[in-house]
């Protein structure tokens, strides 16, 4: 009995304290004290184990030497950065600079500086307009791009020539025919490695639907269940369910340890890849002979390059404006940003970077399309949730019993309801 009383007392104390805590929970850091900060906290996502720390530690040294402000660097794995940044915001301990793949909700919650406050005008003018557009929320530029990547069709030329195919497919019909020929080679070869597991499925969906004349949004309205999108998802489902040209169970296959690894083993005829995959193929998996081509187009839609950019956003905190401004100024100086992008194997986000990288023939297929790159609607906070739903559930929609139409109708309903 005593035991219960004791637990009761603890529970009561816990409740009272929790109410107290709740009333003074984390709140948006604001204020414009004139006192300048002596140090800033910079949280960076780890793109690769070697290059990311190497570059950012050198950057830290340069920054500290230039400004006299201490730069507290924290590098976090991509798998954990979402959780950690969310915890930082929740506990009111936001960094000054955060590197993430989404910014719109932060901007909508009023936590961020916009470019007028912290970005030198010349720097803003140098950023490729497509990225300025994707970083702009309600007319203000909050999401400063750190680097970009574009996706294209990688195909195994060894398997292609074995199957008697001479050129990369340019239409969906050719794509299916080629994939069938590669699959028919047997020996565990699959025509197309299709990653629709929760890791990065929204990217796979986006690149196919953009090349079928579809989009997530049109004229400011969500168009998730548009006929072009539904046709795209039905086509993606048919690749595994009807044509049997993909690896086993694409809805349950992630990109990095699933689709990419099949291509790296030389077992997949085609995969949608980007420059880091190219890097891996050129250094670790030299046995795989491959080439890169633009995505095949469905329904005679004009060719589109699907691109991704991540962001370096800055949080409004008392007295950190000058330090943040100095950070951006240094980061966007050609010797810094391009060094990193080159080391990581990504693509530039500035016009000056575009010029510099154009001397590299391996990047030509991407760079030509970079100014017209097609991005996901990252400028809409609602997209952050839509992308999560796609990642988490699209794999079910392309399964044998999946219903692409219903999945996209539900998605549209979610977006319109805004919850």
């Amino acid at each position: 009995m005593k035991k219960y009383l004791r637990w009761g007392a603890i529970a009561a104390a816990a409740t009272v304290t929790s109410l107290l805590l709740a009333s003074c929970g984390a709140s948006a850091p604001t204020g414009t004290s004139s006192k300048s900060v002596k140090s800033i906290k910079v949280v960076i996502a780890q793109y690769s184990k070697d290059q990311t720390p190497k570059f950012w530690n050198a950057f830290k040294a340069t920054y500290e030497k230039q400004t006299g402000i201490t730069l507290n660097l924290q590098i976090i794995d991509w798998n954990n950065i979402d959780q950690q940044s969310s915890t930082m915001v929740q506990s009111g301990d936001v960094p000054d600079i955060l590197n993430e793949n989404a910014y719109a909700t932060y901007a909508a919650n009023g936590l961020l500086y916009n470019s007028d406050q912290v970005l030198p005008a010349a720097t803003k003018a140098d950023i490729i307009p497509a990225f300025v557009k994707s970083g702009t929320y309600k007319g203000k530029f909050y999401g400063m791009p750190d680097l970009s990547s574009a996706r294209a069709l990688f195909y195994n030329t060894g398997l292609f020539s074995k199957a008697g195919i001479t050129a990369a497919p340019t239409t969906w019909d050719e794509f299916v025919a080629d994939a069938k020929k590669v699959t028919a080679l047997g020996g565990g070869n699959v025509g197309y490695a299709q990653p629709l597991g929760p890791e990065e499925a929204q990217a796979e969906f986006a690149i196919w639907l953009f090349n079928n004349g579809g989009d997530f949004k049109a004229n400011g309205q969500w168009t998730l269940n548009s006929p072009a999108n539904v046709a795209t998802l039905k086509f993606m489902k048919s690749l595994s369910v009807d044509d049997h040209v993909t690896q086993n169970n694409p809805g349950h296959t992630n990109r990095t340890d699933g689709a990419f690894s099949l291509f790296e083993q030389g077992k997949a005829g085609m995969v949608v890849g980007f420059s880091p995959l190219q890097g891996a193929l050129d250094t670790q998996f030299k046995g795989v002979k491959y080439a890169i081509a633009p995505m095949p187009s469905g329904n005679a839609a004009p060719a589109q390059t699907y691109g991704v950019t991540d962001y370096l956003m800055s949080f409004k905190k008392a007295g950190n404006e000058a330090a943040v401004k100095a950070f951006y100024k240094l980061y966007y100086s050609p010797s810094e940003i391009n060094t990193w992008i080159k080391a990581e194997g990504f693509l530039p986000v500035t016009t000056s970077g575009l010029k510099l990288f154009s001397s590299n023939p391996a990047l030509k297929v991407y760079l030509d399309t970079l100014p017209n790159i097609h991005l996901t609607p990252t400028d809409d906070p609602e997209w952050d949730k839509i992308a999560l739903t796609i990642k988490q559930n699209i794999g079910l929609a392309v399964g044998k019993t999946g219903d692409p139409q219903k999945f996209l109708d539900d998605l549209q309903a979610q977006a319109v309801a805004g919850k």
Binding site: A22, G25, A26, S86, A108, N109, K385, L388, G395
Partner: protein, 316 residues
């Protein structure tokens, strides 16, 4: 009668000492000794628990910014989420089967390990190894072994001729839960088996001698002597395993990592996905789920202990 019990002596001694030293000093002294432990408990048990409760009553945006009080909305959202039924069912299956299989296999294994035989030391080491390696590493290794294309399990089964086409252990909904349960049992056995080995060693040998003299068969000796005397160890084994297995995160997280939706999640991985992976991306709702999780495991353990006590009372 002037019989003084030892208890009374002790009490007298206590009260005498109590009068000699002032109470305040004693509290200060006690706090000095208890301080480190209290700080530790406050920091790693009480404070997070309070934060959990506080979080569950607040509304957060998907980036973790507190938007205001939520009342019981987070609890309502959690209880009405469409995937909850499946997740609860998965959790029940997961906990019940892992614990039951672990206990059964461990009982047999403990019987074996407590016998003298050549190479026993080696076998004992082999059994304890899975316990020594981190769960994340074990799970990752199993993920590789279960792999559809390169996994050793499919290669073995096809080369022996048991199956002709590979099985998608971690992608086919018929096999995901059994695969996870197999790994769960594998990593739970070492602790449980050793618990039972200790229990068996504590049973006095003369009880067995008496049974043998009375002509008891091997099976009835086991059923009527070994099992009842092993009861405390089994009790502890079940309760601790229930808690461990219920709270287990790495196995389900890693083995189920490439599957869409929530069809194979347990309450623990579901709670994590609610906070960081699902479209809700809501730490408030996840905190509410966390409180339910604590309550559920407390109730489950309570029911089990009640059930066990009732049976004991019946027999006595």
């Amino acid at each position: 009668m002037d019989i003084v019990t030892p208890g009374q002596v002790a009490a007298r001694g206590r009260s005498r000492r109590h009068r000699r030293s002032p109470g305040t000093a004693r509290i200060g002294e006690a706090l000095l000794w208890l301080g480190p432990a209290l700080i530790l408990i406050l920091g790693v048990v009480i404070y997070p628990a309070i934060t959990l409760v506080a979080t569950s009553f607040n509304r957060y945006s998907i980036i973790g910014l507190r938007l205001g009080p939520a009342g019981f909305q987070n609890y309502l959202n959690f209880l009405t989420s469409p995937d909850l039924g499946q997740v609860v069912w998965n959790t029940v299956v997961w906990v019940a089967l892992v614990v039951a299989l672990t206990i059964l296999i461990s009982l047999a294994l403990a019987q074996f390990l407590s016998k003298e035989f050549f190479g026993r030391r080696f076998v004992r080491w082999a059994v304890i190894v899975p316990w020594a390696s981190a769960l994340v590493i074990s799970s990752q290794l199993f993920r590789l072994m279960f792999d559809y294309y390169h996994g050793i399990i499919n290669q073995l089964l096809t080369s022996v001729g048991i199956i002709h086409t590979p099985i998608d252990w971690l992608g086919d909904s018929r096999y995901i839960m059994p695969s996870m349960i197999a790994v769960g049992v594998f990593v739970s056995i070492p602790f449980t088996a050793y618990l039972f080995v200790a229990g068996l060693n504590a049973i006095p040998t003369d009880v067995y001698e008496a049974a043998r003299i009375d002509g008891s068969s091997a099976w009835s000796t086991y059923r009527l002597i070994t099992l009842p005397l092993l009861r405390p160890a089994i009790l502890i084994g079940v309760v601790l395993n229930m808690i461990y297995v219920f709270n287990s995160f790495p196995i389900n997280w890693i083995l189920n990592g490439s599957n869409p939706g929530f069809g194979n999640d347990t309450l623990i991985t579901y709670m994590y996905k609610l906070a960081f992976k699902s479209a809700q991306h809501d730490v408030g709702e996840s905190a509410a789920a966390g409180i339910f999780n604590v309550l559920i495991i407390l109730i489950a353990v309570g029911i089990y202990l009640r059930f066990v006590n009732w049976r004991q009372g019946d027999k006595a």
